[in-house]
């Protein structure tokens, strides 16, 4: 027997590192696999449901490579152990199962340093590798601000603790529909201010600070100013932010290889013009040298060799097809027709983020299962 657990963190290193290869045997049902799976340049993947392997694993043994780690994956982990043990017994070779399964994969956050700020601060991108969600932490002079927090607050808490920081601001660029925000929880635990765009927060049941154009937020003594830029389109209140005159936090308005979708609150038609104005006028007036930091990525190719997802705004105006639709009618069609399916439980997720419902941790995790689907491409 030589079946060993592999953590989501370790598997992440295989996905980010372009020189590493890994073979994933996903034993979930085909429907679940087709909906959402582990992806990456060095990832080879085979789907064979565990219930088709109950009589024996012989049929797949020759499909398993010898020259890279083999990781068996299922929804939680038990079915992958079930299959993994059969393979280990049949081959005597070392192989792995993904500890905690796709649930753990969905929840893992990998902090990646984006760069230094003027006056000694730093900016980190937290990559939620299994779901393609990105959140950001600005660190300056012992203080920290977190943008678009994921539901799992522990990775941020640990990070803040390790670096001896105090979390002073938690900011959401918009009311999220694809994931539950950890903003309120962190506010309650740390006393940080929780900022939301007021137009997205009309129905929220809790106190918040209004994230508005002209209302700068300062992190640390060294004044890393965050300038909110009102940029509706994905939601009516969507707000972008310029940090330190270097970075543009674009939320779900602009991604590296695509643009936001305007329909998750059921208002696609109404917000198409807002989205176009935000991208083609508001963003066009910003400096080309700003590094765009989106709230999502869709493809591994959007990530560089260090695991960072960012590109200069000027480059995106050249290369991102969503920023190069000159005809308004074509733009309308692109963003309002042929949209990908809506994220799992997006209405319940919005209700949760408004504070209207309070599902258990288990229910929240189930609500977030699957890909994020906030982009049109």
């Amino acid at each position: 027997m030589s079946l060993k657990p592999m953590s989501a963190k370790e598997l992440t290193s295989y996905v980010i590192d372009r020189d590493k290869e890994v073979f994933v045997l996903d034993v979930r049902a085909k429907e679940a696999f087709d909906d959402w799976k582990i992806e990456g340049e060095g990832v080879s993947i085979l789907n064979r449901p565990y219930f088709d392997l109950m009589d024996g694993v012989e049929e797949i043994l020759e499909e398993l490579p010898q020259d890279m780690p083999v990781v068996v994956v299922c929804a939680k982990e038990k079915s992958s152990i079930f299959v993994g043990e059969m393979i280990a017994e049949a081959t005597g070779q070392e192989l792995f199962y993904l500890s905690g399964g796709m649930r753990a994969w969905s929840e893992h956050l990998e902090p990646v340093k984006i760069g230094d700020l003027e006056d000694g601060g730093e900016l980190y991108q937290f990559v939620r590798i299994g779901k393609g969600c990105l959140s950001y932490m600005i660190v300056s002079d012992g203080e920290a601000a977190l943008i678009d927090s994921s539901r799992m607050t522990e990775p941020y808490e640990n990070f803040v603790k390790e670096k001896g920081l105090k979390l002073t601001h938690v900011i959401d660029t918009h009311l999220h529909a694809d994931h539950i925000s950890g903003g309120r929880k962190l506010r309650d635990m740390t006393g940080a201010s929780y900022w939301l765009p007021p137009k997205d927060a009309e129905k929220v049941t809790f106190h918040y600070e209004a994230l508005e154009d002209g209302r700068d937020i300062t992190v640390g003594q060294t004044k890393v100013a965050i300038h909110p830029v009102y940029s509706p389109g994905h939601t009516i209140g969507s707000t972008s932010m310029v940090i330190d005159d270097q970075y543009l936090i674009s939320g779900d308005i602009l991604f590296i290889d695509s643009i936001g979708r305007p329909d998750l609150a059921g208002k696609a038609e109404d917000w198409v013009a807002d989205l176009r104005d935000s991208l083609y006028r508001v963003y066009a007036e910003l400096s080309d040298d700003l590094y765009v930091l989106p709230a999502h990525y869709a493809k591994h190719s959007e990530m560089d060799q260090y695991g960072r997802v960012t590109e200069k705004l000027g480059v995106l105006f050249e290369k991102n097809s969503g920023l190069n639709i000159q005809d308004e009618e074509n733009f309308r069609k692109t963003v309002s027709e042929n949209l990908p399916p809506q994220p799992n439980a997006y209405q319940e997720i919005r209700q949760t983020n408004m504070g209207k419902i309070a599902p258990s941790e288990e229910e929240q995790a189930d609500m977030e299962t699957g890909p994020n689907r906030c982009a049109v491409s």
């Binding site: 049902a29 565990y50 219930f51 088709d52 109950m54 929804a75 939680k76 038990k78 079915s79 079930f82």
Partner: protein, 75 residues
């Protein structure tokens, strides 16, 4: 529905419900109907998928008070 046998796998987690269902099914004859009671949410998608791949027809399924019930006809 006229079930030949009722299999209660409530409280068992993935992969055990499907493992037990398969074992039980192996003891039945063609045309027999196996009624399965299960609480594991993973089984909700996996049992129908198993039925499809193994060829046993899923005749009906219900969900009540967190208990999922499936009726499979042995092929």
């Amino acid at each position: 529905m006229d079930s030949t046998k009722v299999l209660d796998v409530k409280g068992l987690a993935c992969p055990m419900p499907v493992v037990k269902v398969k074992k039980e099914m192996d003891t039945l004859n063609e045309g027999d109907i196996l009624e399965v009671h299960v609480t594991d949410k993973g089984a909700k998608a996996d049992l129908p998928a198993w039925g499809k791949s193994s060829g046993h027809e899923l005749l009906q399924n219900t969900e009540e008070d967190g208990v999922l019930k499936f009726w499979f006809k042995k092929s």
